[in-house]
């Protein structure tokens, strides 16, 4: 408890270095959420298994401490996403651009999630992932399929990305940081 009142702490609070910013990575199973998380954190591609539960990693990005939560996307786990909505600054929604069959389901899940009261103030970043694959939809196509234009009162953006090649990730994150900094200040 003593720690709470120490100088380092007070300074930490003032400059926002210790404060962690919570970001959720959501999306259907197999969209590439875990790969994106570790690509962002370690800068390399790891082999992943379906996430039963969640992964959390902390990373420093542009002087901000980000606490990035990657939640499992399987049907059985989706109901528990809501446990994590509290205090969330931003949501990264990952879509498998090659999976045209399930894009409707992804859209439904996205809009369902955005209706939650706790996420009213969160920014939304959509990654149209797997651009390295042949037959992938473009960012615009994904945006249309997800009905992103319907979103009002929310800062959102869509970025075409490839977690394997590391393309688009930093652009997306940069945009997100700008939005968050604006809101925090």
């Amino acid at each position: 408890m003593g720690q709470t009142f120490s100088f380092a702490n007070i300074f930490g609070k003032v400059w926002g270095t210790q404060k962690e910013i919570r970001i959720l990575i959501l999306g259907l199973d197999g969209a590439g959420k875990t790969t994106i998380l570790y690509r962002l954190q370690m800068g390399e591609v790891v082999t992943t298994k379906p996430t039963i539960g969640f992964n959390v990693e902390t990373l420093k990005y542009k002087n901000l401490t980000l606490n990035i939560w990657d939640l499992g996307g399987q049907t059985s786990i989706r109901p528990y996403w809501r446990c994590y909505y509290n205090n969330t600054a931003a949501v990264i929604f990952v879509v498998d651009s090659t999976d045209k069959d399930r894009i409707d389901i992804a859209s439904k899940e996205l809009h369902l999630m955005l209706k939650e009261e706790e996420l009213l103030d969160s920014a939304l970043l959509v990654f149209a992932n797997k651009q390295d694959q042949p037959g992938a939809m473009t960012a615009a196509e994904v945006s249309q399929a997800l009905n992103l234009t319907e979103l009002k009162d929310r800062s959102w953006s869509i970025v075409a990305s490839s977690a394997l090649k590391g393309e688009g990730l930093t652009e997306g994150l940069d945009w997100l940081m700008d939005v968050i900094k604006e809101e925090q200040l």
Binding site: M1, Q3, T4, Q18, K19, E20, I21, R22, K49, T51, I52, G53, F54, N55, V56, N67, G72, S76, I77, Y80, C83, Y84, N86, N87, E117
Partner: protein, 727 residues
Amino acid sequence: MSLEKKIRKFLQGPRKGEAFELKNGLVSQYKHERKDAIQRVIQAMTLGKDVSSLFPDVLKNIATYDLEQKKLVYLYLMNYATTHPELCILAVNTFVQDTEDPNPLIRALAIRTMGCIRVQKMIDYMEIPLSRTLQDENPYVRKTAAICVAKLFNLNPQMCIEFGFLDSLKKLISDPNPSVISNVLNALYEINDMYISSNLNKELKLDILVLDYTLIKNLLVCLNECTEWGRLTILKCLNDYDSENSEQANHIVERIIPQLQHINPAIVLSSIKTILKHLVYLQKASQTSILKKLSSPLVSLISNPIPEAQYVGLKNIRIILEKYPNILSKELRVFFVKYSDPLYLKLEKLDIMIRLCNENNFNLLLNELKEYSMEFEPTLISKSIKSIGSIAIKLPTSIIKCVNLIIELIDLKGDELIIDESVGVLTMILRKYPGKNDLITLILPIIANNFSHLSIANPSYSSVIWLLGEYPNYFTNISNLLNEIFEDFNDFGSQLKLNWLNTIVKVNLNSLVKQDFSKLLQETLTEITENEDDVDLRDRAYIYWRLLSSAEQELPKQILLAKLPPIDSSIETYNPVILNDLMSELSTLSSVYGKPSYTFISNQPSSFFKSMDIDELKAQAKQDIIENVKNENLLDFDDDFEENGNASEGASTNSNNLLDELNDLFSNSGSSPASNTSTMKSNTDDILSLFNTLNVTSAPMAQPSQQQSQSSSNNDNKVNNDLLDLF
């Protein structure tokens, strides 16, 4: 704000208070606040507060690199997983990742916690982490995973077998690390017990634990390198193995002998047990030399500073002594009672000392017993005096010394307790050596002199009455004594009355008695036949009366003055079958109870009580109430029965009446749910046959009562048993 939002807000729980604070802390944006909140949650948990509502928020903190925090969250999970079984899967990812962690402590922690989360959904994800940790390079992880297999078997045996965990566990028994081996053994034993008590298909032979000599040799090597728990398990296993020849037995015994020096009494005791088990395969000469080596470890058991541990040691020594009486013959002094011992230790030590007593050391022991008899604890005093008697009965050479000691005790401190016990003991001595004139003349005057100190409440009063009948001519004032005793006749219990009846008859028949006690006899017989309620006693009086009035002169003497066979020993012994069972269960609870385990451990699956839900408990409570009510009924019924039975002596009207009452009783209980009919059948049959003997005509009446009672609940068992006792 819409209605839905209002409801949601309401459901979100309190906005202030401890729970709210903790919840906020757990999802805080600051690392240290989260950790602090977790610590406070665990604190509340250990205090017994229910913090299960914080489950989802605590769970969020499971993925951390902070080992301390991870341990705390795992601890919380183990405690509350069953309150939120569906949320547990959110932890799976972390568990699986942790079982791949470079730190073996984390790998072991993860698999241990996974095993402790007794939730079906978790089991589905255990396959990969468990099989990985079973083959881990680190022995600490392997030994933790081994126990985890047993936990899995407990939750889902089919899955445990199908996924091959049982087989991998069996393979792990040849692991190079002794700690792993002992844990694997432990797990296999657990699984074996669960398998036996489960309702799994027994035809599918699992061969869970096959003991062969190669395994045993391996275990013997491990024995020295294990933890104390590991050694116990290995010793248990060695004890279960039957050596094939004396060479094997010799090897096993020699390897175990160093364990006798261990500081832990449990290991010493288990080692002794295992050595004794394999001893029988050895040759006589080596047997005696090994038995000699066992005496000092046995003594070390009672030099433990904790009295409870000493007690366990003594209980086990007592059993071993019965099998090998000479094993501690030189160690009598060790068992001398210390003034600071608790009473239960003192009594147990006395028990052992009389077993150790022999021609060489009885003088020493008698001196000790004299001291104990002057103590202040009544139980100790009476046990010491009884022990003196036991020594006299065990060693003929010690009789005079023992009797003199008792006389001395009476003179020194002749209170009621000592006199009571002494008279009882002296009577026992006379029963052991019936014909010895010098002994009789020594003992009987003392008893006669001290008789005035006894009242009918003393157990030895009855002994004196018996002695009067047995040795009437040795009592100079017999007529006074008999008259004195008869004055209190109406206060006697049935036992005393019976004793008196025998004595007065014997005194009258004894030709050595010069005086005439026929008046006393006449009064006794009249009193008993006319006013006595006890059927046995009354019948006995009738028989004696008839015998005495018969023309035969010698027959009554032959029957009534026959001598009892002398007693062999007053030291309790176990029946040989039970002794063998106890020897194989040394150093377990059975040796403390002095009963084989099957008498107090049921073979039912251990989950029996868990499976009872609230409805069953309610039903049980209801039955208990019914039972109580019925017991009261039964008491009334007892009285009725006795009166009826006494007054009528086989008159059919009364017993019909009785059967009606019995029917009523059964039809009352017929309303409770049916169960357990098979065991009661025999009981009701007994009742039925009983009625048949009572009155043949009432058999048709008894038939319906049997049918009714079969449909009634298992309380009736008790009712029936009580009825049987009555008859």
